[in-house]
Every structure is written in structure tokens, then in C-alpha cells.
């Protein structure tokens, strides 16, 4: 076929600049993000939407914190843990944050191993990530239990503004749900990697689609997002 579908882009000397590449991609047919698969594009767009969910949660939290007429409880006292007779402020949160951030590291390594087609290393690193994530959720459950035993409820607490408990349970609960879903997704993808589904092109149970090692990266995108959100929750809820 001699028919030209699109006029050729004007050629310039040397490698195309960042902006030229950007405008070239958006002016192209078929794909606006050249080379990005449908799944990966979907995950990015979903995460953009989810950013707005967490953004609204956090803005809502900041607004009620300013609107309430009662003093806000002191986070470093509330979240202190008595270890060996000394009150250590924020110690549990520090460990939780450390665990979650570390899991981002193992996740990144899993993605790298996935693209090298190291089946076992990928699966094991993903499992490690999932275990770290589950540990985080476990510590969160411990924190919730401790606060509930101390009398904190979504509608009341003994230290100050009611909204403290409301926002705490709502935001950490919503984030914890995200982490839990992430752990489940990681476990499922790790099983598929371990079984070699992505090497032989086995079809998915629900969607009947074949997956690829890119699925590891897509699960990773979600995981890093959840970690990043935690950083904001940590900063705005625990440190403020």
C-alpha cells in the first residue's frame, strides 16, 4: 500500500527533544502513550482518580480539624507506646512506616526481576512485599485495638475533639483496605508468576485474558501509590 495514513512528522537533526516527542505522541494515531499497554494506562488513570479520593479525605480531615471547637488530641501522646517502662512517642507508626516503605523497595526489585524473567526471584520478592504489607495491616490492627481499648470510638474519645477518632478510623481504615487489597493482588500475581502462567500464556480465570510480566509492574504501581498515600497520611495525621 502506498497510501499514507498520516503525514510524516517533520524531521529534525539529532534526537527529538522531550517536547517534540510529547507532541508527536499525542498527535499520533492509535496510542497517545506510545508503548504503554492498556492495563498500565488503566492503572495510572485509576490511580489518578483514587488520588482525588484520598485528597478529599485528607482535605475533609483538615477542615473538621479546623472547624471543631474542642482541642485536638496530642498525636505524639496518643500514639505513644510504653516499651520497657518508657513512653516512646510515635514508635509504632515509625515502625509501620518503615515496614511499608521497605515493601516498596522489595516491590521495585520484584519488577526488575520480572523483566529479567527470573520467575522464582520475582515470586519470592512479591511474596516478601505481601508479607511486609500484611505486617503493616497487622500492626494497624494492633494500633486500632489499643486505641479502642483506651476508649477511642469513631464518635467520641476522652482526649478532645470527637473528629479525632472519626477521621482516624475512616482514613486509616480506608488506607488499610487499600493495603489489604494490594496484599491479595500481590499474592495472586505472585502465584501466577510462580506457576509460570505468564510464560505459557495461561488465561485468567475471570477475564479469560492472558497476562504478562507487566502485571507485576502494574501491581507495583498500585503498591507504590498506596505507600505514597501513607506518607501523606503519616505527615498530616500523625506529625501535625
Amino acid at each position: 500500500m502506498t497510501e499514507t495514513v498520516l503525514p510524516p512528522l517533520p524531521t529534525v537533526d539529532g534526537p527529538p527533544s522531550r517536547w517534540r516527542r510529547f507532541s508527536g505522541e499525542w498527535a499520533a494515531d492509535r496510542q497517545a502513550f506510545a508503548g504503554a499497554s492498556w492495563r498500565k494506562a488503566m492503572m495510572w488513570i485509576f490511580l489518578l482518580s483514587d488520588t482525588f479520593v484520598f485528597g478529599c479525605f485528607l482535605i475533609g480531615y483538615m477542615t473538621v480539624r479546623m472547624s471543631t471547637t474542642v482541642p485536638w488530641p496530642n498525636a505524639s501522646e496518643v500514639f505513644a507506646l510504653e516499651i520497657g517502662g518508657t513512653e516512646l512517642p510515635l514508635i509504632l507508626i515509625a515502625i509501620m512506616t518503615f515496614v511499608l516503605i521497605s515493601s516498596s523497595g522489595t516491590m521495585a526489585m520484584a519488577v526488575a526481576q520480572g523483566y529479567k524473567r527470573n520467575r522464582r526471584a520475582t515470586a519470592l520478592l512479591m511474596l516478601a512485599t505481601a508479607v511486609l504489607g500484611a505486617t503493616f495491616v497487622g500492626m494497624q490492627a494492633f494500633e486500632w485495638t489499643k486505641l479502642i481499648r483506651e476508649g477511642v470510638r469513631p464518635w467520641t474519645n476522652s482526649w478532645g475533639a470527637h473528629q479525632f477518632g472519626s477521621t482516624f478510623f475512616m482514613i486509616t481504615g480506608f488506607h488499610g483496605t487499600h493495603v489489604t487489597i494490594g496484599v491479595i493482588v500481590l499474592a495472586i500475581v505472585a502465584r501466577k508468576v510462580w506457576r509460570g502462567d505468564f510464560d505459557v500464556g495461561r488465561r485468567g480465570f475471570f477475564t479469560s485474558q492472558r497476562g504478562g510480566y507487566e502485571n507485576v509492574e502494574i501491581a507495583g504501581l498500585y503498591w507504590h501509590f498506596v505507600d505514597l498515600v501513607w506518607v501523606f497520611i503519616f505527615a498530616l495525621f500523625y506529625l501535625w
Binding site: 500500500m1 496510542q31 502513550f33 499497554s37 475533609g60 471547637t69 474542642v70 469513631p154
Partner: protein, 588 residues
């Protein structure tokens, strides 16, 4: 590169091979019920939305019964009245308009118009519909719950929405919020699909700037929805917690019947911000697809290229962007810092600029066109007029000093019904008359269509034009009864009765439409593949209605923009997008 085989013949360039695989149905159940075909999902979405929309239409009759003939119908008490207006508003805005434009038109037209085989995630797309259906069922369930549906007004403002004294405080509000949360989850599943399909699954040759404006409108509206619905989601979750767990996100300290409630320290204004951060983009989630569809209808039926295509695209994007910075103009009467009022009034009025560009371009497209006054075209022209009317009153209301006295009157009711009630509904009708031949292979009956059009269009004006006047007289909105209010002249009551009678006639005319839809399935004139001689890809499918996978063995290849009508020197007065340059004569 030009010939793009599918399936066994090899991978698609630029995408992974497995992504082109379609799930082929194995049974009647997976073909027609749990279908992963976007076209079937579109029909499911539209059918469900139109069905619940008819419920909302009947609710509007009940509103008019009370307003036109107060006291005549003993089954309409104040509580029932508030429940009816609440459900009417919420159903029409969210469950009908949003669902039809994005779930219905979006699912049907996106893959066909951009030359894709299906949505990129058919399974998720199917889930989207079933969760939407569940949301509708939860909403309907609130009609039968103890205490009935919520009567908080469609804006669900706290604190009254969850306090005793508001009808539906027991179950209605809980079911309403749960239904909204489900709707948003379901919509997000569909929304990521629409966006990724448009961005990543276009046919060879289909650049973004060769997409029909319908797709631009639906695409931009979906992006808005993905960014705006989170605010409603968060608001709904918080209010659900306030109602069920007794938290105080939106609840200040309240004394009810001499008793201090356990609420305290929350801020009702926060809900208003969250609600309208969703609520204003929602107006454009409904309007932008309508803009797009109208552009295509006008160009096709006036046999003329759309005027200023690029400006039309940029206007859509500009309106979409601006719609996120105007939300507080819904809250002037809530009270705000005058500087904020100034800011939001300014941004609101700036939206008039891209909107005016669009209206001028539609008119200039019609100018000296070969106008065919088909039923879709009539609806499209009616839209322009109605939208212009509603938009101009929007310019009044965008100003703080004008809005404050008019805000709680029927003037506002008339304004938003014109601009985002009647106008988009006219486009939905026009779109259905236009694409029904592609969906079913048969034309809708034109005589019934004309009857439907004229009664609906003229009736809508007879209903809502007098309402502006009533609003300026000071007739308040939301009031159950206005008789005996000294500041309202007695003649207002007779005008209200007149409006009610027209509303019943217009409502009844929709029966003609539904009958036409059903009758033409069997008895319509066979349409052929391209009855309107349109250029866009959905009219160039090998089969009508298109089969699963849309395009047969090969994807279409796009050589031109979608508006090559009446090209000088071309053999016919339209050149399809997939026609190569040499085949179109001098038209290249």
C-alpha cells in the same frame, strides 16, 4: 502497516497480542445478559437508565399535581412531596443523564467511532453495568423501605438530611448514600475503560484530532467524572458514618426538641464543598457529551463540515477545566467571604466564553448548509435554542448579587431545567433517533418522531418559560404549598395549574417515544448500513447492527477527519473517514 489483521494472523503493532483478543460468548446468557460486548452493555445501560428515568418522569407529574392543584390530592402530604422532589432530582441527574450519556452512548459509540473492536477491558465493562444496576435497585428499594425514600432534597445537605423530621431519615438516606457509593464504584470501572479506549485503542490513522466531536465530548466528560465523583464518594462515606456511627463530620452541635444531640464540632459547609466539587462538573459531565453529539448531528444533517473543529475541541477541554473552579457559585446563599464570591463569579462567567464559541460554531455550521429537517436534526436545533436560553439565565445567576435574591425561587428551577434538564434530554432523543438505525438496523418511525419532537420541545418551553416569570415574582422553590403567602399574587396559582397541565401532556408524549422504540424494532423501515450518509466510522461497519468485534477481519484505516461533507469535486456529498484519498476523487 495499513492492513491490520487481527487474532491469529499476528500481533497488533504497538500493542500486546493478547490485548486484541475478544471474549467470544459461548451461550445465550453470555451473549445477551452477562455480555462483555460494549454494544450490548450500552443497550443494557440505556434501557435501565430510561426505565428509571420514566419513574422520575412520573415523580415529576406528582410534583406538578401538588404545585398546580394544591390540596386536591390527599395522598400528597409535605413528607411525600419532599421525597418525590428528592428522588426526581437525583434519578434524573445521576441515574438517567450520566448513565445514558456515558454508559449508553459512551459504550456504544466509543469503540465504533474510533475504530476499536471493543472496550479495552470488556470484563470490567460488564461489571460496571451490573454494579450500576445494583445501585439502581438499592435506590428503588428505598421506595419500599420503612419511612420511604429520603426527602432531603437532591443535594442531601446535612445536618437536616440525617436528622429526625426529614422524611426517610431511618432508611431512605442510608440507601441513597449506599446507592451513590455503588454507582461511583461502577462508574469508575466503566470510566477507566472509556478513557483508555480513547487514548490507547484507536484505529490506524485515527489521531486525536480526527476523532468525531461526540468522542471528544464523552471522553472529556469521563475524565471530569473520574475526578469529580471522588468528592461525592467521600462526602457520601462521611455522611453515612455520621448517620450510622454518630460521627460528626458534617454535624455541628444541635439541639433537637429540647434535647442536645451527641453531635458537635463538624461543619455542614464541608459537605456542600464536597458535593458541589462533584456537582458542578456533573453539569458538564452531562453537557459535554451533549455538545459533542449535537455537533455531529448538525454537521451530518446540514451536509456541511463542522465550523471550527479545533476550536470546538479546545472549547470542550476549556469548559472541562473551568468546571472544576466554579463549584462555590452554588453556595452563594450559604455565605462566603466576598472575595471568594468575586472569584467564583468571575470563573463562572468566563465559562460563557468557550460555551459561546460552541454556540456560534453550531450556528455557523448551519449557515448556508443543506439542512435536512430530520427528527435528529430538529432535536439538535432545539438543543441549541434551549441551551442558549438556559445558558443566558446562567449568566444572571452567576453574579452573587443577582443570585442571592433569585436563588430559592422557581427562576433557578427554570434555569437548570432548561440548561441541564431539557437540553441534554433533547440530545439524548436526537441521538437515539440518529443511531437507532445502527443499533437495530431499522429506522424509527418519522411521523411518531415528529409528534414526539414537537410536543416535547414546545411543551418544555411552555413549562419552563412561565417558571422564570414565577421565579421573578418570588414564588419560592421547594415549598410544599404557596397558597396564602401574601407576597405571591393569586394569578401565580393559575399559571402553575397551566404548567402542570402542559407537563402531563409532555410526559404522555414520551409514551409515543417508547412505543416508537418498541414498534420500530419489528416494523421500522430497514435502514441499511448508512441511512444518513454520514462519514464517521460507525456507519462504515461491515454489518448492521455491528457484530461482536465490530469490523470483521480487518480494522478500518482512517484517512481523514470526520466532517468531509459536500466536498467540492467529490463523487458524493460525503467522504467516509476510512476512504483513501485516491478513491475520493479530488477530495484529498
Amino acid at each position: 502497516m495499513v492492513d491490520t489483521p487481527i487474532g491469529a494472523a499476528g500481533p497488533l503493532p504497538g500493542s500486546e497480542p493478547d490485548e486484541a483478543e475478544l471474549y467470544h460468548p459461548h451461550s445465550w446468557l453470555t451473549r445477551y445478559v452477562f455480555s462483555q460486548d460494549a454494544k450490548v452493555i450500552a443497550i443494557q445501560y440505556s434501557g435501565t437508565a430510561l426505565a428509571i428515568g420514566l419513574v422520575a418522569l412520573v415523580l415529576s407529574w406528582l410534583i406538578r399535581l401538588q404545585l398546580g392543584f394544591p390540596g386536591l390530592f390527599p395522598f400528597l402530604g409535605p413528607a411525600e412531596y419532599y421525597q418525590i422532589i428528592t428522588m426526581h432530582g437525583m434519578i434524573m441527574v445521576v441515574y438517567l443523564l450520566t448513565a445514558v450519556f456515558l454508559g449508553g452512548f459512551g459504550n456504544y459509540l466509543i469503540p465504533l467511532m474510533i475504530g476499536a473492536r471493543d472496550m479495552v477491558f470488556p470484563y470490567v465493562n460488564m461489571l460496571s453495568y451490573w454494579i450500576y444496576l445494583l445501585a439502581v435497585l438499592v435506590l428503588v428499594a428505598s421506595f419500599f423501605a420503612p419511612g420511604g425514600p429520603t426527602g432531603a432534597g437532591w443535594t442531601l445537605y446535612p445536618p437536616q438530611a440525617i436528622l429526625s423530621g426529614t422524611p426517610g431519615q431511618e432508611w431512605g438516606i442510608v440507601l441513597m448514600l449506599a446507592s451513590l457509593i455503588l454507582f461511583i464504584i461502577g462508574f469508575t470501572m466503566g470510566g477507566v475503560n472509556y478513557v483508555v479506549t480513547v487514548l490507547q485503542a484507536r484505529a490506524p490513522g485515527m489521531t486525536l484530532m480526527r476523532m468525531p466531536l461526540t468522542i471528544w465530548g464523552i471522553f472529556t466528560a469521563t475524565v471530569l467524572a473520574l475526578l469529580a465523583f471522588p468528592a461525592l464518594f467521600v462526602g457520601a462515606v462521611m455522611m453515612l458514618l455520621d448517620r450510622l456511627l454518630g460521627t460528626s463530620f458534617f454535624m455541628p452541635m444541635i439541639i433537637e426538641a429540647g434535647q442536645r444531640l451527641h453531635y458537635g464540632g463538624g461543619t455542614p459547609i464541608l459537605f456542600q464543598h464536597l458535593f458541589w466539587f462533584f456537582g458542578h462538573p456533573e453539569v458538564y459531565i452531562v453537557a459535554l457529551p451533549a455538545f459533542g453529539i449535537v455537533s455531529d448531528l448538525i454537521s451530518t444533517h446540514a451536509r456541511k463540515n463542522i465550523f471550527g473543529y479545533r476550536m470546538m475541541v479546545w472549547a470542550i477541554i476549556a469548559i472541562g477545566g473551568l468546571s472544576f473552579v466554579v463549584w462555590a457559585h452554588h453556595m452563594y446563599v450559604s455565605g462566603m467571604n466576598p472575595y471568594f464570591g468575586f472569584f467564583f463569579a468571575t470563573t463562572t462567567l468566563i465559562i460563557a466564553v468557550p460555551t459561546a464559541i460552541k454556540v456560534y460554531n453550531w450556528v455557523l455550521t448551519l449557515w448556508r448548509g443543506d439542512i435536512h429537517l430530520t427528527v435528529p436534526m430538529l432535536f439538535a436545533i432545539a438543543f441549541i435554542v434551549t441551551f442558549l436560553n438556559g445558558g443566558l439565565t446562567g449568566l444572571f445567576l452567576g453574579n452573587v448579587v443577582v443570585d442571592v435574591p433569585l436563588s430559592d425561587t422557581l427562576f433557578v428551577v427554570a434555569h437548570f431545567h432548561m440548561v441541564m434538564g431539557v437540553a441534554p434530554i433533547l440530545v439524548i432523543f436526537g441521538g437515539i433517533y440518529h443511531w437507532y438505525p445502527k443499533v437495530t438496523g431499522r429506522m424509527l418511525d418519522e411521523r411518531l418522531g415528529l409528534l414526539h419532537f414537537w410536543v416535547t420541545f414546545l411543551g418544555a418551553y411552555l413549562i419552563f418559560f412561565p417558571m422564570h416569570y414565577l421565579g421573578l415574582l418570588g414564588v419560592p422553590r421547594r415549598y410544599f404549598e404557596t397558597t396564602g403567602l401574601g407576597f405571591i399574587p393569586a394569578s401565580a396559582a393559575s399559571l402553575n395549574a397551566f404548567i402542570s397541565v402542559v407537563a402531563f401532556v409532555v410526559g404522555a408524549a414520551q409514551v409515543v417515544f417508547v412505543a416508537n422504540l418498541i414498534r420500530s424494532l419489528r416494523h421500522g423501515v430497514p435502514a441499511g448500513g448508512n441511512p444518513w450518509h454520514a462519514t464517521t466510522l460507525e456507519w462504515q461497519t461491515p454489518d448492521t447492527p455491528p457484530r461482536h468485534g465490530n469490523w470483521g477481519a480487518r480494522l478500518p484505516v482512517v484517512y481523514r477527519w470526520p466532517y468531509d461533507y459536500s466536498v467540492p469535486g467529490a463523487a458524493e456529498d460525503f467522504v467516509p473517514q476510512n476512504q483513501p484519498a485516491h478513491a475520493a476523487g479530488a477530495a484529498s
